[in-house]
């Protein structure tokens, strides 16, 4: 569904992506992991067309994303830090998104589960970080898109809201959607994802299903499995 070929991007002298190639298919929940500043967010932003790559192509359903922006209709994006116009009220924000995308709200489940309609009159600038996250999550799911891109979805959410969101991700996965997510919480990744794309210094270190990774390393916990894998790899490289 999404095909990335030799994607390169540098900000000034800093090479953030050094030739990424991979494909994402529907029905997969792929977790993009990696240390801070490994290029995860840049990769996601490139897919969304917010960052323009230096070279390489991204194909969405076979079409080059740099030509036509309408593929974004099929993506729901939840940013790491949701930044919205300060003066706008929550209700207005939702109305605006419907108006801009020329779509009706197909999926208001999260909206109601997070009890957002009761806050429709609050301006965005008064919202706490967690509430902003709730708004971002509800917006990402609002149009029932076939692809969901979630950048650290549960960071800043209270435990109840985090559980609601995780249940929602599960549900969307059952519908056969492609879900890309980044997270630093291993238990959560273990719970939600079936595949790990591990990035390091702008390159893909490995791309395995969680089951395979656990098999290879013989570890039961995902965090440990990744550590073991990386350790083994450095060992091989140094010899």
């Amino acid at each position: 569904m999404i095909e990335i070929n030799q994607l390169r991007k540098s900000f000034g002298k800093l090479d953030v992506l050094k030739g990424i190639s991979t494909t994402f298919e529907p029905g997969q929940v792929i977790s993009i992991l990696g240390p801070n500043a490994s290029g995860k967010t840049t990769l996601i932003k490139s897919i969304l067309g917010m960052v323009i790559p230096d070279s390489g192509t991204i194909l969405f359903e076979g079409k080059d994303t740099s030509i036509d922006p309408y593929y974004k209709k099929k993506i729901g994006y939840m940013p790491q830090i949701g930044r919205y116009p300060d003066n706008m009220k929550i209700g207005q924000l939702f109305e605006m998104m419907k108006d801009i995308r020329q779509e009706k709200a197909h999926d208001e489940e999260l909206l109601h589960q997070f009890d957002l309609p009761s806050m429709f009159n609050k301006p965005m600038r008064t919202l706490s970080g967690g509430t902003r996250q709730k708004v971002s999550a509800a917006l990402a799911c609002l149009f029932n898109p076939p692809v969901l891109i979630l950048d650290e979805p549960t960071a800043g959410l209270d435990p109840v809201a985090a559980e609601i969101l995780k249940a929602k991700i599960h549900k969307e996965k059952e519908k056969g959607k492609l879900i890309l997510l980044t997270s630093h919480i291993m238990s959560e990744v273990d719970e939600l994802a079936d595949q790990i794309l591990y990035m390091m210094e702008g390159q893909i270190k490995f791309n395995y299903t969680i089951a395979d990774l656990k098999d290879i390393t013989g570890e039961n916990k995902l965090g440990k499995a990744i550590m073991e894998y990386l350790k083994a790899e450095t060992y091989v490289e140094s010899n």
Partner: protein
Amino acid sequence: MLKVTKYVLHDIVRNKILIAYTVFLFVLSCCMFYLDENPDKAVSSLLTIINIIVPLVSMIFTTSYFYNSYEFIELLVAQPLKRTNILLGEYIGIAGSLTVALIIGLGIPICMYALNPLALTLFYTGILLSLIFTSLAFLCSVATRDKAKGMGLSLLIWFFFSVIYDGLILGILYSFSDYPLEKTVLVLTAFNPIDLGRIIVMLQMDVSALMGYTGALYKTILGTNWGLFISVAILLVWFIVPLLICVKIFKKKNL
């Protein structure tokens, strides 16, 4: 594109700076027309002020508004919209509201006190100056990521065109006073939208006769319809070219 404009306007109508600007222009123009018996004199006083205030406010307001709506632009870029449409939508919203401010603040007093070709020329050049400096401010804001830098750059451009440029021309005139420079100066002036705007209005006045030989030259070259056409064309270039460059940069910008 107009969808974006709609939401920009929705936000901008509540902007206090814009309201203050409109009220200031309105009060100023009314005072000038009311105090001066001769509307032509009032126009010439207004010209001086409009030529400073309009570019300055257009620059500062646009730059600060653009940076403040960065979140909004970020949000839009992740939506199925073309980047060109996002930027032009923003431009139409901001430039449009500045134009409306000028229509209310200057247009209405003109209709009330002095509806004549001279005053209308002032009004049209005011609108062109708003458009030009809004597009220059867009260029500054898109080219720099840092708000302070963008703001500094716009102020510098305004300062350059309203103060430094004239100083340079005077310097050239003074240093090369032994040579016939009228045509050179004429060409140089055309490169400054503020000066050009001022000359277009002044040529409609009787005072142009007081500008000496240079004034006479301006009158013979720019005072004709053909000259007026060229001046307006140059002003339009000043408005369109920065905007095109701005769209080009914005298409490649990382958000």
